[in-house]
Structures are given as C-alpha cells and as structure tokens.
C-alpha cells in the first residue's frame, strides 16, 4: 500500500521527467537551424540526416514527454525516451573522446561549449528516472 507521499512522488517524477523532454523539444523546435548546427557539430551524421533529425527529434521528444507525463502510450514513450537518452550519451561520449569543444545541443543549440561531465551526469539522472518509472509500471502501478 503506497502512502500519499509516495504517490505524490511518483506523479511528480512522471511530470518532471516528461516535462523536461517537452521543454527540451519545444526549445529545439523553436529554432531548427540552431539545432541543425548543434547536431552537425558532433560530426557524426551527413548534412541531410542531421537536417531531417533536427526537424523530427524535437517533436518526438515532445510527444514522448507528453506520453510519460500523462501516461498515454506510456510503455512506448518510456522505451523511446530511454533509447534516445542512450543515443545522446553515446554521442556525448564520442564528442568528448574526439576532444570536440561544442554545444551539446541538449536544449536546442547555441548554448556554448558543453561541459561533458555535467551533461553526462544529467543524462544519467534522467535515464535513472525513466528506469524507475518503467520499473514501477512493470509492477502494475
């Protein structure tokens, strides 16, 4: 039996995690060109793919974020966001490994050079939150 406090905690975690992705998605969607530059700075994708990704990714984040916050298409949203976070972490590690001094593009573009340690810790916390929500959902709650 969950206490009221615990129920509040889980609801808050859901809204906070989902809201974070909605916020990040809206920032990216508002300035696609800056986000294209941010994606290209990683030097991992050809221009055409970076361009397509820069238009697509923000809306995927927004939809999945809303799905997590309001528990709609919940399993799919949690799964996709977890996959996205793993991709972000891999891209960050790759850029860090190559010594690139770039904006991480996590919340749009043009945010100044990335502090890789901070970005990775933040991503790890978000991944942990997604994992916790998935774990709770798997227990039927």
């Amino acid at each position: 039996m969950e206490t009221k406090v615990m129920r509040f905690f889980w609801t808050a975690l859901r809204f906070f995690t989902g809201g974070l992705f909605v916020y990040a998605g809206v920032l990216k969607a508002r300035d696609p060109a800056a986000f294209v530059r941010a994606v290209e700075n990683y030097q991992l994708l050809p221009h055409a793919l970076a361009l397509a990704g820069a238009f697509y990714l923000p809306y995927l984040e927004i939809f999945c974020g809303l799905g997590v916050a309001f528990k709609r298409l919940y399993e799919g949203a949690l799964g996709l966001l977890s996959l996205l976070m793993l991709v972000f972490v891999a891209a960050l590690l790759s850029a860090w490994g190559r010594g690139l001094n770039i904006d991480c593009g996590c919340f749009g573009g043009d945010g100044g050079p990335a502090h890789y340690g901070v970005a990775l810790v933040r991503d790890a916390v978000i991944l942990a939150a997604l994992g916790l929500l998935a774990w709770r959902h798997a227990r039927g709650k």
Partner: protein
C-alpha cells in the same frame, strides 16, 4: 507471457509515437524559412524551394569551382573581387536572393564574400548552411 505482451504493446505504442512525431516535423520543415536561421545562413532545403531561385555564388578556390559547382553558380573570391564581381552584378536581379557557399560550415570565405556583397544592397544575401559539402550530400 505477460512480459511478452507488454513488450509487444510497448513496440506498438513506440511505432505510433514515431509516426505521430513525423507529421508536425514535415509541416515544420515545409513552413520553415531559412531566414529565421539567424547569423545570415540559409538551409539547403529552403534554398532549393526558394522562389525565385537564388543567385548562387561560389566562394571556393578557382580550381574547385572549375572542377564542379552548383549549376549556374558564379565564382566570386575576395582575392579576385574586381575581376569577378562585374559578372555577378550583371546577373543579380533587384531583390533576388544571393546565396554564397564555400567548402564547409567552418570556412570563413563565404561569410566574407556575403558581407561584401551586402554592401551593394541589391537583395538579401545568405550563406549556405553546410556549404558545398551540404550540396554534395543532398
């Protein structure tokens, strides 16, 4: 069994989300104006559907221009400005957008040429985002 059903449901929901996100993305890319890119850059996707078509300006070295270029592009380089600019001015229609490109996004040549072209105030001048590399990858 329950776990498999949950996995199937998750995959189905993920597909719905992936498709749903594509719709606004397509609309946003169609509505997007490169002019909103800031710092004077235009995305290739916007340039390609720009009407009337922009006047393409190639700011790369002569050898690269001679080898391959955007169809119809005119050469214009800082070091040969006086020789090359008359043909650009002859082709540049009033209010027509001029689009300058060089090797890549990191190169300054296209920015410098664009800056100088703006002084003529014949029409908007942009730098192609991603430069020649973007054109080749289209």
């Amino acid at each position: 069994m329950a776990r498999l059903a949950s996995l199937r449901r998750g995959v189905k929901q993920a597909v719905i989300l992936l498709v749903a996100a594509g719709l606004p993305a397509v609309v946003a890319s169609l509505l997007f104006k490169g002019e909103a890119a800031g710092d004077g850059e235009m995305l290739l996707a916007v340039a390609l559907r720009h009407q009337p078509p922009p006047l393409w300006i190639d700011a790369r070295p002569a050898a690269e221009y001679d080898r391959e270029r955007v169809p119809g592009a005119l050469a214009l380089r800082q070091e040969e400005w006086e020789t090359l600019v008359p043909q650009v001015l002859a082709r540049w229609q009033p209010e027509q957008t001029a689009l300058v490109y060089c090797d890549s996004a990191g190169s300054q040549a296209s920015r410098e040429v664009a800056e100088r072209l703006r002084e003529y105030a014949l029409g908007p001048v942009y730098v192609l985002h991603g430069g020649w590399k973007a054109w080749k990858q289209k």
